[in-house]
C-alpha cells in the first residue's frame, strides 16, 4: 500500500508562506491556527550572515507518538500512511500535543470560532461554511489534505508553492518525485533521534 510523504527543498523555499495561507484557505482554519508554517533562521556574523527558510508540517510519522498516546483512538493512521484525526472521537486532552516532538498538534479554541478571523464576533460566509468540521476544543493537525489525495490531487500547500519547494508523493514508489529526491539529494528527516520515523524529509 502507498506511503504518502513529502520532501522540503530548502534550496528552493523563499519563505513566502503562500503554503501557510493556502492551507488556511483549504482547511477553514480559525485565527492563529496553522497546520503548516514556514520558519526562518538567521545565523552567522555580518557580513558572513545567512538566513534559511524552513517549511514545517506534520511529519505523518510512521511510529506516530500522537497516535500511540491518544486515549480515545481519535488519532489513527490510514492505509496510505496519513495520520488522521477523527473530530468526533477527540476529547481535547492534548496528550497528543505534548507527545509530538514537532509541536504540530493544535487545539481549536472555542474563542476563535466565536471571535472570527476579523476579531469582531461576526463570522464571514467563508468561516460559516467551514468551521463546522471542527468541534471546539479538539486537537487537530495537517492531514496532507487527505480528501484531495483521495481524488488524485496534491495537498493545497504543495500546489500553491511558487518555487516547488514541497514535493509530495508515494515514498514506496521509487520513481516518485519525493522518493527520487531523497535519494539524489540525501533527504533527512527532522529530529530523527526522537525515533518517530517521520515521512517528511529535508534536502539542502
Amino acid at each position: 500500500m502507498a506511503r504518502m510523504g513529502m520532501v522540503f527543498d530548502l534550496k528552493a523555499c523563499i519563505g513566502c508562506n503562500a503554503c501557510v495561507i493556502g492551507c488556511k484557505q483549504e482547511n477553514s482554519l480559525p485565527d492563529g491556527v496553522f497546520f503548516t508554517k514556514t520558519l526562518s533562521e538567521e545565523y552567522g556574523v555580518y557580513p558572513a550572515a545567512n538566513r534559511v527558510y524552513i517549511p514545517t508540517i506534520c511529519n505523518q510519522c510512521e511510529d506516530a507518538p500522537c497516535e500511540k498516546v491518544c486515549p480515545t483512538g481519535a488519532t489513527y493512521t490510514r492505509e496510505d500512511g496519513i495520520v488522521m484525526v477523527d473530530d468526533a472521537k477527540c476529547i481535547g486532552c492534548s496528550t497528543c500535543a505534548v507527545a509530538c516532538p514537532y509541536d504540530m498538534r493544535t487545539q481549536m479554541e472555542a474563542e476563535s470560532f466565536l471571535n472570527g478571523l476579523f476579531g469582531d464576533g461576526e463570522l464571514t460566509p467563508f468561516e460559516e461554511q467551514g468551521y463546522g468540521r471542527y468541534t471546539p476544543g479538539t486537537v487537530h493537525k495537517c492531514d496532507f489534505c487527505s480528501q484531495r489525495v483521495d481524488v488524485g490531487l496534491d495537498p493545497a500547500c504543495v500546489v500553491t508553492c511558487p518555487t516547488n519547494a514541497r514535493i509530495f508523493g508515494d515514498l514506496d514508489d521509487p520513481e516518485s518525485a519525493p522518493a527520487k529526491m531523497i535519494v539524489e539529494r540525501k533527504g533527512r528527516p527532522p529530529l530523527p533521534e526522537k525515533n518517530t520515523k517521520p515521512k517528511v524529509f529535508y534536502v539542502n
Binding site: 514545517t56 491518544c70 481535547g92 476544543g137 529530529l191
Partner: protein, 298 residues
C-alpha cells in the same frame, strides 16, 4: 551558550524553542490531587486509618476529575478517554483511577460498616479489597509520571525518573499528611519514613536535573529555564526550601510537635504543588531543524 542567547519562538515563525502550554495549571492541579490523594490513601490503608483513607480519596474523587474536566477540550466526551488502555497511559490511568475510587470507596465502606453485615476487618473480602485498592492506588501514584515520560517530545519529561519521582512524591505526601491525621503507634517510623522520603524527593530532583543538564539540547534548555530565569525563585524557594528542606528540618528537630508537623506538611505540599506547575512550565519543544553549523540551540 547561555539561555539568553537561545531563541524562543513564542508564536512567531522563527526557528527556536517553543513553550509547552498544552498541559497547564489545570493539569498540574489534577496531577497533584491524584498523587497526594492516592499517596495518603495508600499510607493510611497500610496504617489502618479509615479517616486517612477518606481524606485521601476526596481529592482523588473530586479534585482530579474536576481539574481534568476543566482542562479537557470537549468535557462531554471525556468518557472516551478510557478506550485505549492497550497503548495509552491516559486510558490506563482513568481506568485505574476509577478502580481506585470504586474499590477504595468500597473498602472504606466495608471497614466502616462491614461488621454490621458480617464482613470483619480481617476477612478475606477486606484483604482482597485492600489488595485491589492498594494496587490501584500505587498505579495512580505512578502513572502520571509514565504519561509524561512516555513520549520523546518534551525532553525534560522523557526520563525514567519521572514515574519514580511521582511515586516517591506521592508517598512522601501521603506520609506527611498521614502524620497529621493518623493517630498511630508507628509515629517514630513515620518520622523516619518522612525524612527518608523527603531525602528521596530531593534525590529524584537531583537525578532528573543532572541527567537533563547533560542530556539533549531540549532537556538542557529546560533545566536552564528552571534554574536561570525567574522560575528559579519558585523552584528554590518553594519546591526545595519550603517543600524539602523546611519540612525535613522541622521534622528532624521537632518530631513530636504538632505545629511543626502542620507547617512541615503545608510546606511539603506547597513545594510539591509548585513542582507540578513548574515541570509543566519548563517543558519545551526543540527546534525542528537548525541549519546553523554553529548550533546555538545546544
Amino acid at each position: 551558550m547561555a539561555i539568553a542567547d537561545k531563541v524562543f519562538s513564542g508564536d512567531t515563525f522563527k526557528v527556536g524553542y517553543r513553550f509547552q502550554r498544552h498541559w497547564d495549571n489545570s493539569m498540574a492541579y489534577a496531577f497533584f490531587c491524584a498523587e497526594a490523594g492516592a499517596g495518603l490513601f495508600f499510607v493510611s490503608m497500610l496504617l489502618g486509618s479509615v479517616p486517612g483513607m477518606i481524606i485521601g480519596l476526596i481529592p482523588v474523587a473530586t479534585g482530579k476529575p474536576y481539574f481534568h474536566l476543566s482542562h479537557m477540550g470537549v468535557p462531554a466526551r471525556s468518557w472516551r478517554a478510557a478506550l485505549r488502555p492497550d497503548r495509552s497511559w491516559i486510558s490506563r490511568g482513568l481506568l485505574g483511577l476509577s478502580a481506585l475510587i470504586g474499590f477504595g470507596g468500597l473498602l472504606v465502606l466495608c471497614l466502616m460498616f462491614g461488621s454490621q453485615f458480617g464482613v470483619e476487618a480481617n476477612s478475606a473480602a477486606i484483604t482482597i479489597l485492600k489488595l485491589l485498592a492498594g494496587g490501584f492506588a500505587l498505579m495512580t501514584m505512578t502513572y502520571q509520571g509514565f504519561a509524561m515520560s512516555h513520549s520523546s517530545a518534551i525532553a525534560i519529561w522523557n526520563s525514567a525518573v519521572l514515574p519514580l519521582s511521582s511515586f516517591i512524591y506521592s508517598l512522601a505526601a501521603g506520609v506527611t499528611i498521614a502524620r497529621l491525621v493518623v493517630s498511630s503507634a508507628e509515629s517514630a517510623t513515620l518520622v523516619d519514613a518522612q525524612l527518608l522520603l523527603l531525602l528521596s524527593v530531593g534525590i529524584m530532583h537531583l537525578m532528573l536535573l543532572h541527567a537533563a543538564w547533560h542530556g539533549t539540547p531540549g532537556a538542557r534548555t529546560s533545566t536552564e529555564l528552571l534554574l536561570q530565569t525567574n522560575y528559579a525563585k519558585w523552584f528554590w524557594g518553594l519546591t526545595v526550601a519550603a517543600g524539602i528542606v523546611l519540612p525535613a528540618l522541622l521534622v528532624w528537630v521537632a518530631p513530636t510537635s504538632m505545629v511543626a508537623s502542620i507547617v512541615a506538611c503545608a510546606g511539603m505540599l506547597v513545594g510539591f504543588m509548585a513542582w507540578r506547575i513548574l515541570i509543566f512550565k519548563i517543558g519545551l519543544y526543540e527546534p525542528i531543524l537548525s541549519m546553523n553549523p554553529f548550533n546555538p540551540m545546544q
